[in-house]
Symmetry: C2
Subunit: 191 residues, 2 copies
């Protein structure tokens, strides 16, 4: 998606250690007009797919997911990260390793809000190693819902997450696919 690629080129910042900072418009400050265009693009890509629920993971996926849900006319459910071992209530549960924060979270979704009647589109801001997305896929499978696919804002295509998820047969639509990046030369996108 040219609009998002251009925005990454102009406002994204590459840091040492493979860090792409897009926090001026995507995941700390949030440009909701850009989110609306991204949402319309996912709606176009998934036209005809009977999505009735959007699943994301807190925190930075939530805003993008909510704007996207309006396009699909469905609710959002966000998976909650928790370090608590004993949560009361009836939840689906998986583990997600955060490379950014160097820890593993339990991630939960209430059984009340995801089940075999649901056709789920996953939405998240980033796909790199795939840990968060694989966790969400786990939760969907556990629930018996149908997985329609995933919508990702920025995929680091040089990391293994996207390949891994696609190899499982899951459709992944990333709006900007970064093929390489460096502090010196900035960001290059997949053609």
């Amino acid at each position: 998606m040219r609009l998002l690629e251009e925005r990454i080129r102009s406002d994204g910042i590459v840091r040492e250690g493979g860090v792409l900072k897009v926090d001026s418009f995507l995941n700390h400050q949030m440009d909701v007009a850009l989110f609306r265009e991204m949402a319309r693009e996912w709606k176009r890509l998934y036209a005809g797919c009977p999505v009735n629920k959007i699943l994301t993971i807190e925190a930075s996926g939530i805003g993008i997911a909510c704007i996207t849900a309006e396009e699909f006319g469905c609710p959002v459910v966000f998976a909650k990260k928790t370090e608590t071992k004993n949560i009361a209530g009836d939840v689906y549960r998986t583990k997600v390793e955060s490379f950014t924060h160097g820890k593993t979270y339990d991630v939960i979704v209430s059984r009340a809000f995801l089940g075999p009647q649901d056709k789920v589109l996953l939405i998240d801001d980033f796909l790199a190693n795939g840990a968060a997305l694989l966790g969400l896929i786990d939760l969907v499978r556990e629930s018996g819902a149908e997985l329609v696919g995933a919508g990702i804002a920025v995929e680091k295509a040089f990391q293994p997450g996207g390949d891994r998820v696609r190899a499982m047969g899951v459709r992944v639509e990333s709006l900007a696919r970064v093929s390489s990046m460096s502090v010196e030369h900035g960001v290059t996108f997949c053609p």
Copy 2:
């Protein structure tokens, strides 16, 4: 706001210990069509106020804030909860005690995204003791931005947060103000 009150009456669940669960539509599963109506109501209430930034706190405020930001034509910034003591970078910082989780978080906002040029509307899902809202007010004051007011979805008016914040001269527009609640009799709203 009658629509939100009716939804709380029909789908909210009162639990022992003063807990009002609205997670089927507000803060786990999110009804974005309801959020749009709430956003329009805040836009009506704050008509003529020159809001150019919406500030919220992760996680459950983010969705409501993003939908609301579209009404105001401005970006969202969300304050991040962190237990990390040494965060690199230039941030405003305050402390917020979570009564729900029984711990105190450092809450941060990058200095790049909030400053004296900003006229800020705070958005959050709940106001009870006021801890989160007071934290956000702190961050706005530290930044030198102008605080226009706050938009709250559900205020527990029998807890001290709302009075405390209004006594500081901050305008607070809560769309549903719960005057009392009990497992036996459900929820009553302020007239």
